[in-house]
Structure formats: structure tokens, C-alpha cells
């Protein structure tokens, strides 16, 4: 059985495509077997909704009269600094940026109540936000100060561009020390007080296509409630990570860089997020459709939580010191039971990634495809796979001697 994306798109156009979520496919394969299911199903939809720090947006705000060269100057939106090292009125806002006067961790643990992710959420919600610029002034761009309300609908471009989203698997974070620690994996109570994980597991896009056989550069996807595309492999993309016999990584592995028009997205799927004692970020909704081109591809999508394993890492010592030690491995099935055993202790678990909302993404994408509103794309180029021989490099410091 071999199908092409063109054939599947033809069925989508006619409203005849059979689409199921990555959760539904599990039962279907159990009932009918891989062969039958692969004949019947055309597309499996995935979804994930978790905090993704390497996210941001760029804007072209239009030219003021007289003109101002924001490029090389200083600018902020709602007091959150933006990157200006671009042309005159192009700026980039990162999800983790915070106002200069935020107390950060000086009052520990800092609240990090408002940052770049929150600005993106407010822009997408259609709220006016405040742009403040100071520039050095040139002959062709004489203006030095600008303070104005701006609204997403008036910007020439507002583009979400996330350098690393949808991590294929992630660490389970615990704390072996005697005091509470505040991390990007949430609040970790002392002496193995809790174990936090962050993956949609069986619904997660790259866990359903572990060898990147269908997801590649140019893949159209659900992004922030609208439509986006895979722009590139994400930063820290590491196909070389340890894998199970079924091909599924047992460590953080592949990642996606994604892009899409912010103007058609929704604040329901781009939520400004605060990690107490750590910083600001944004929770992003991503869903990728997987065309069932072969039985092999279908078999990958039938993966269940019980078959996906993640490493348990101590965030009080091993993680900050970049030690490779792990405390064991655990399946998402066990993590979702609410309790796991670590070093002979029963530890309650919590998720930072929302499974119900990941499911809602997979179902929304399914609906779009079934209505014929969303066609699949052929990847323009593949993501680097195991064969690419990439290694995930640490920073090797070379002291600068004066």
C-alpha cells in the first residue's frame, strides 16, 4: 500500500478523506491491525500545547512622518525591549524578553508577570500596545523619539517565527536537594517532592513521525490557531539522541522551526506564560498532519504513551552542572498515572504541557482537513535525520586572555 500526498489532497478536496487523531489511531490499529488501518486512513493529526521559549515575532510597523530609523536604536513594546538590529522599521520581539525595570530574581523567586509572550498574546487578541523608540537620527531618518499606540491590524507584517518548537520528547524534572527550586520545568519541591514533565506524548507531532519521514521543510501545520509552516529544523535539533527499537527517541531529540502569519492566529493558542523564579515565555499550540503514505508511517502514528520513555533528570545539580547522569527512565503512561517511583520513593507527577488542549488542536486540524479547508504539502527538503551524523555540541569555552 503506497499513497501519495497528491492522492490524499484529491480526497480532501472531495471531502472524502479519512482523518483521525493520533489518539484515535491507537484504538483503530488495535481493532483492525496496521494493514487495514493503513488502507482506510489518509491522515493522522497530532497536537501539542506547551511553553516554548524559543518563540517570537517580527513586525514591520510602517514609516512615521517624519521618518525614524528604529534599526540600531532602542525600542520597546509595552516596556518589553525588542531587537532593533534590522532595517529602519523592522523589529523582532522574543517571548522571554522582560521590561528593563522588572525586578527579575532580586526578590526571589521573581514573579515574571509580563514579558514578550504576553505582548504577543495581547497583540493577537487585537489590543493596542505601546511602541516607544529612541533613535540616533540621520539625514534621511531625522526623527529621534517616537511614542505611539500600535495595533496588529495596522502593521504591514506581523509574523510568528519560532526557532525551536515541538520538542520530540523531553526531560522529566525532579529535585534531589533539600530546598525548593524554581526552574523552567516549574516549581520543584525538595527531596523528590514532585516530578514535572512536558510533552503531549502519544499526541506530540515528532513522536508520531520519529524519523521525519513526512514532516520536513515546508510542511503546512496548525500554528497558534492559524496556519503555519515548518521553516527549518529547530535549534538544538538532535536526531542522534538515544532511540528505542521502535525508533522513538528516549531523550530530547528533534525540533521544528516554524513560521506563520500572526494576524490570523488566536490568543487561545498563544498564551503569555510566567515561570516563577525563571522567566517569561509563551505557550504555543502546534499541530502537524501526518499523511499515511505507507504502513510503516501508520505504524509510527499508532505509538502510545506506554511505549514512549523519557529520562528523569535532577534539576538541582545534574542539569545546571551539565552532568549526563539520569535517575532512570519512565514512560508517559506511568507519568500520566499521577505517581512514579524514583529512587524507591513515590513521587507525584505534574505536566506543563496541556494534554486536553493538545487533543483539541488535533481535533481542530482534523476538522479543517475533513472540511477541505486544509490541504497537505509535500516537504521541500527533509529535516536532518539519524543519517545526517549531526552531534549536539556543548559550548567549549576558550578563555579570552587580555
Amino acid at each position: 500500500m503506497v499513497k501519495t500526498i497528491a492522492e490524499i489532497n484529491e480526497k480532501i478536496r472531495k471531502g472524502q478523506a479519512v482523518v483521525v487523531t493520533a489518539e484515535e489511531i491507537i484504538d483503530l490499529v488495535d481493532k483492525k491491525g496496521v494493514e487495514r488501518a493503513a488502507l482506510e486512513v489518509d491522515v493522522v493529526t497530532t497536537g501539542t500545547f506547551g511553553p516554548m521559549c524559543s518563540s517570537g515575532a517580527y513586525f514591520n510597523v510602517g514609516h512615521s512622518k517624519p521618518r525614524i530609523k528604529i534599526g540600531g536604536g532602542k525600542a520597546s513594546i509595552n516596556d518589553v525591549p525588542v531587537y532593533t538590529g534590522l532595517a529602519a522599521v523592522d523589529i523582532f520581539l522574543g517571548a522571554t524578553a522582560i521590561p528593563d525595570d522588572d525586578p527579575r530574581n532580586r526578590i526571589y523567586p521573581g514573579g515574571f508577570n509580563y514579558g514578550g509572550g504576553h505582548v504577543i498574546e495581547e497583540l493577537v487578541a487585537g489590543k493596542d500596545v505601546m511602541l516607544v523608540v529612541s533613535a540616533y537620527g540621520t539625514d534621511c531618518y531625522p526623527r529621534k523619539r517616537l511614542e505611539t499606540w500600535i495595533n496588529i491590524k495596522d502593521l504591514n507584517e506581523a509574523v510568528l517565527f519560532n526557532m525551536r518548537n515541538a520538542y520530540q520528547n523531553y526531560n522529566v524534572a525532579v529535585n534531589l536537594s533539600g530546598k525548593t527550586i524554581y526552574t523552567y520545568m516549574g516549581v520543584l519541591k525538595p527531596n523528590l517532592g514532585n516530578a514535572n514533565y512536558c510533552s503531549a506524548g502519544q499526541l506530540s507531532p515528532l513522536l508520531n513521525d520519529p524519523h521525519y519521514k513526512t514532516i520536513g521543510i515546508g510542511t503546512r501545520l496548525f500554528l497558534g490557531g492559524g496556519i503555519g509552516y515548518v521553516a527549518w529544523h529547530g535549534t538544538q535539533h538532535n536526531p542522534d539522541a538515544l532511540r528505542s527499537d521502535n525508533g522513538v527517541p528516549r531523550r530530547p531529540a528533534g525540533t521544528l522551526a516554524v513560521i506563520g502569519d500572526l494576524k490570523q492566529m488566536s490568543p487561545r493558542w498563544l498564551v503569555g506564560t510566567s515561570m516563577v523564579g525563571y522567566g517569561c515565555t509563551i505557550t504555543v499550540g502546534v499541530g502537524v498532519p501526518i499523511p499515511i503514505l505507507s504502513e510503516e508511517i501508520l505504524r509510527y502514528t499508532a505509538i502510545k504513551d506506554e511505549e514512549i520513555f523519557a529520562p528523569i533528570v535532577d534539576y538541582s545539580e545534574a542539569y545546571p552542572q551539565r552532568s549526563p547522569d539520569i535517575l532512570g527512565e519512565i514512560s508517559y503512561g506511568q507519568l500520566k498515572s499521577g505517581r512514579i517511583i524514583v529512587q524507591e520513593k513515590e513521587v507525584p507527577t505534574a505536566s506543563l504541557s496541556s494534554y486536553p488542549r493538545a487533543l483539541e488542536i488535533a481535533n481542530t486540524l482534523k476538522e479543517w482537513i475533513m472540511k477541505g479547508e486544509f490541504l497537505l504539502t509535500e516537504a521541500v527538503a527533509p529535516l536532518p535525520g539519524v543519517e545526517a551524523g549531526r552531534t549536539f555540541k556543548p559550548l567549549n569555552e576558550r578563555p579570552i586572555e587580555e
Binding site: 500545547f49 516549574g186 498564551v271 506564560t273 505557550t283 499521577g338 505536566s351 506543563l352 486536553p356
Partner: protein, 136 residues
């Protein structure tokens, strides 16, 4: 009939220096468990209490509080979940000490049982989208 209720008391500044809680114990024979208290001279005071005693004593005690000018609120109103902001991720369930926030194993949504909430506020900052709001 014995009864036990959790209430939030707001003391106007003029009452902050009066021994009101002492009278609840002494004159109305109520057992009380202070869950939270913030009382600063010349400012509004706030106290979260579990009050237990006979129905009659409880009602008389509450009447006394009202007559002195203390504003009384039932506890369920204190911590509210902003349903628009909650993403049902589940980060809160391990910080909630009373099980008021718990995952429904089937839907994997986070249920909020207001009757179990003691308004300790431990969930407020660890909630990534900051959906848990304190209302006084």
C-alpha cells in the same frame, strides 16, 4: 448540632486593635483554626478562619462579628480560577496541598474543587498562565 465553616474576615482599620478573636472563643465558645492572618495597625486586617462550635454559638458569633463591623465572606470566593486563562496543563496539582486541584484521569482536565480549597495561595505563582486569582 455542631458545625464547622471556613470564613474570611475583613477588619476595618478601627477594629484592628480590638480583641475580637478572643471574644469569639471566650464569649461564644467557638473553636477556631487560623489559616491565614494579615493584621497591620491602622490598615484593613484580613483573617482566614475555620470556625467550629454548636449551630447556636456559631450563629451568635457571626452576629457579633457583623455588629462590630467585621465584613464576612465565605471562603470559596477567595481563590478563583480564570477559566479563560487556565490551559489545563496540570502544573498546579503537585503544589496544591489539599487536593482541591486534581487531574480528571479520563479527560485529563484539571478539576478545581472549591470546597477543598483553603485559600493558601500556593497555586497562584506556579500557575504558568496565572489563571488562579485571589479575590478579596
Amino acid at each position: 448540632m455542631a458545625i464547622s465553616k471556613r470564613v474570611v474576615l475583613h477588619f476595618p482599620p478601627r477594629l484592628v486593635e480590638q480583641p475580637i478573636i478572643y471574644k469569639l472563643v471566650k464569649d461564644y465558645d467557638l473553636v477556631l483554626n487560623i489559616m491565614k492572618a494579615s493584621v497591620t495597625p491602622k490598615e484593613e486586617g484580613l483573617m482566614v478562619l475555620e470556625l467550629s462550635g454548636s449551630r447556636q454559638d456559631y450563629d451568635r458569633g457571626i452576629q457579633y462579628l457583623q455588629e462590630t463591623g467585621v465584613r464576612i465572606q465565605s471562603l470559596g470566593q477567595d481563590i478563583m480560577r480564570n477559566e479563560t486563562r487556565c490551559t489545563h496543563c496540570g502544573a498546579c496539582v503537585v503544589v496544591c496541598p489539599t487536593g482541591a486541584l486534581a487531574i480528571d484521569p479520563k479527560s485529563r482536565r484539571v478539576d478545581f474543587y472549591e470546597d477543598k480549597c483553603t485559600a493558601c495561595e500556593l497555586c497562584v505563582l506556579p500557575c504558568p498562565p496565572r489563571a488562579m486569582e485571589v479575590h478579596f
